[in-house]
Symmetry: C2
Subunit: 428 residues, 2 copies
């Protein structure tokens, strides 16, 4: 085991540069911990000339990541390019076929091709790990696949997109509109090139689909994740939720129900006093509920050079130490296709709508709810200036389909203007 573990790193953005720094600066520590040196043989990126604040001169350079991935002097291909297809996929496949282990931070790649890649890895006796792909520096993949392996997982929840949580926190703390908070996050460089990956919940949905696969032993099925972005959340909703002791989070929930696997990444109300409710700013949190362990909460930075590089190095160190885990906690052949639940279990909902200021309007709404079988827990109309009045309703537990029926009915009454806001309340 004293032979060095040789990395080939593709992608030298923030995270790639961070990994290079750790390998250079902590050589002795890593060698002591792993029992063998960890070194870099070669690197690859789009632009060779860019200054990345780290000395790359002692590493071979490859313009083509596929070439990097299959070099004889590379034991582990570290994929930090991103993107669900294209070079990242091609190079990862090439690496596995060439018998190289792969460490990646690429949730999109695994959310779309996780099953095929896990099978390819196992067919070639390779390891494919992705700790950095979910919740940044939080060692959630390791905790779920290994530490909690004695549990039947009942529910996995998480706030896993720091940008969204930053926007929602700023709206609450500074009274900003969604648009203002979005602009601020953009100015700070927090948003992806395609911001819909963040605020549309896609990035967080990718992550949730990976956690689901591990938690429930199912094949990754990102397409079955119910996705809703945070664009529908207004400062008014945040204030009303706070008033009732809740906070609004872009919350991922995965649970196995009698009707199949539920996966949702949607804005939800969570109790303000719960760990998820207390999570402010760009921090991430994952909550795992196991039948033995009860509730375990992990919290930490979800992005950034250090935290993400830390997660990459966790996987690299496992390989260096000879700790060879399956990608999703079971051999890929044992992962079963998940029957999507197609409906979330009954839950209380928060509704906010603009009601015409006419006699009988409120009665019409109440009766539409009643007809749909949705029972009202709290309802209030509050102060208003215009000719419509905001009305806030918290329902008792109801099914999503009853709620949809009620929302359709409301639209037909002619007393509701605009689109009502409907957010699930997730009890913790």
């Amino acid at each position: 085991m004293s032979q060095s573990l040789r990395l080939g790193i593709a992608g030298l953005g923030t995270v790639g540069a961070g990994v290079v720094k750790i390998v250079r600066q902590k050589a002795t520590l890593l060698e002591e911990r792993a029992g063998r040196p960890v070194t870099i043989s070669a690197v690859s990126a789009r632009n060779r000339d860019k200054d990345r604040g780290v000395n790359l001169s002692s590493y071979a350079w490859e313009d083509d990541p596929v070439k990097l991935a299959t070099r004889d002097d590379v034991d582990v291909f570290v994929e930090l390019m991103g993107g669900s297809d294209g070079p990242a996929k091609a190079a990862t496949e090439a690496a596995l076929k060439a018998g190289k282990d792969v460490v990646t931070a690429n949730k999109a790649l695994l959310a779309h091709h996780g099953q095929a890649l896990a099978e390819l890895a196992e067919a070639n006796d390779c390891v494919l790990r992705f700790e950095a792909g979910v919740a940044g520096g939080i060692p959630i993949i390791k905790s779920l696949t290994e530490g909690l392996a004695g549990n039947d997982v009942e529910r996995v929840m998480g706030v896993m997109n720091g940008t969204c949580n930053y926007i929602l926190t700023r709206m609450e703390d500074a009274g900003l509109s969604y648009e203002e908070a979005f602009k601020e996050a953009d100015g700070l460089g927090y948003l992806e090139a395609d911001p819909n990956l963040d605020v549309g919940g896609i990035d967080a949905g990718h992550k949730l689909s990976l956690l689901s696969a591990i938690a429930f032993g199912t094949q990754v099925n990102f397409d079955a994740v119910e996705l809703e972005g945070i664009g529908c959340v207004s400062i008014e909703d945040i204030r009303q939720a706070a008033d009732m002791g809740y906070r609004i989070k872009l919350l991922g929930v995965a649970r196995m129900t009698g009707r199949g696997l539920e996966q949702s990444m949607t804005p939800c109300l969570v109790p303000a006093s719960s760990p998820l409710g207390q999570l402010a700013g760009g921090t991430n949190m994952v909550v795992v509920e196991g039948d033995q362990v009860g509730q375990v909460v992990l919290r930490g930075a979800g992005a950034g050079e250090g935290p993400t590089a830390s997660a990459v190095m966790g996987d690299v160190m496992d390989i260096a130490r000879g700790l060879r885990m399956t990608t999703f906690g079971k051999p890929a052949s044992k992962l079963v296709p998940a029957q999507p639940a197609n409906s979330t279990p009954p839950a209380p909902y928060y509704l906010r709508l603009e009601l015409s200021d006419k006699p009988g309007a409120m009665a019409k709404i109440a009766s539409v709810l009643g007809d749909a079988g949705v029972s009202i827990h709290r309802m209030r109309q509050y102060d208003h200036a215009a000719d419509t009045a905001p009305v806030l309703i918290v329902t008792h537990k109801t099914t999503r389909s009853s709620l949809t029926e009620a929302l359709t009915g409301m639209a037909e009454t002619g007393v509701v203007s605009g689109q009502p806001v409907a957010l699930r309340i997730e009890e913790l």
Copy 2:
């Protein structure tokens, strides 16, 4: 890898019975996850006839745990007896010498003999793991040794004795005195047979010493842990702390300083709004600060059948999967003796004392503090009935030795009655 991994379990209390249940009830799940069956060959406990709510008839019985540990049909010796010496130590040593892997929940054993046992394990090519020994179901050992292996750890903190946190929480929430809350915890069966293990901070100190060893690559040195129990904390202190935005926790802190390794398990004030401050009841929390990852927080149940058995099974599953880690994250020979810091770094302190209600008394205290170089951040004397007046002081950052000098000086003034309370304020 299809050969079954055969356990020998010594100790059939709550945790032992919990492990047996998991192995019996989740046989298929465990086999799928590990790629091989996990079975039990033999068990051992003091009383063979006790009903433990689980069928043991298919397992061989050994009265002597040493015999169990060395049976030919045992691959992993699972030590759940407890106790730093005696049968637990003898059987663990026997197992390792016989080439058996060992999984234990025994923090006392490892706090006292961790280095020798880790060396023995490695000399025999065996694994010795103890996830269940620290913070119950929270996968902190795995996270620290593996997931965060790319970090230089800067500080590890934790609330790791649920009983103490329960007592402190009940004092605050129900306005109970320490004695009343202690009695309540005792009635609920939360206390060890020797309650000083809990309330004296010894149990939590054992755990901290194990985390220190992993975090800083040092040999376990429990004797160097500064220990102070929660018996000195009064409801008055809890109220005053709350008033200033703090909560009192039995807090473990380990950090490597220029003066050596600091390890303390003492009642501290922490910001009420921090994750540690928000931790109520019997729950545990560990905070790791790494140079790359920043702050990672793990929270979960610190005791109980399910959570502790979950942690034991995490270690067992690692072994079943062929994931063979060193005990403390480095080969035992690479762990270095830790130079104890012998003094905590400068910190603000909370002081509460009873002052004689005489003219000039306050001036005497202020001048003693000044002479010792302790500068006052906040100071107030509050309403009182008797002929002494409670005085509350929050200092600026000061060293423990300056504080001790001030406390000695105060005793000599003759205007302080009784023993002042002095608690460190730990910033997060």
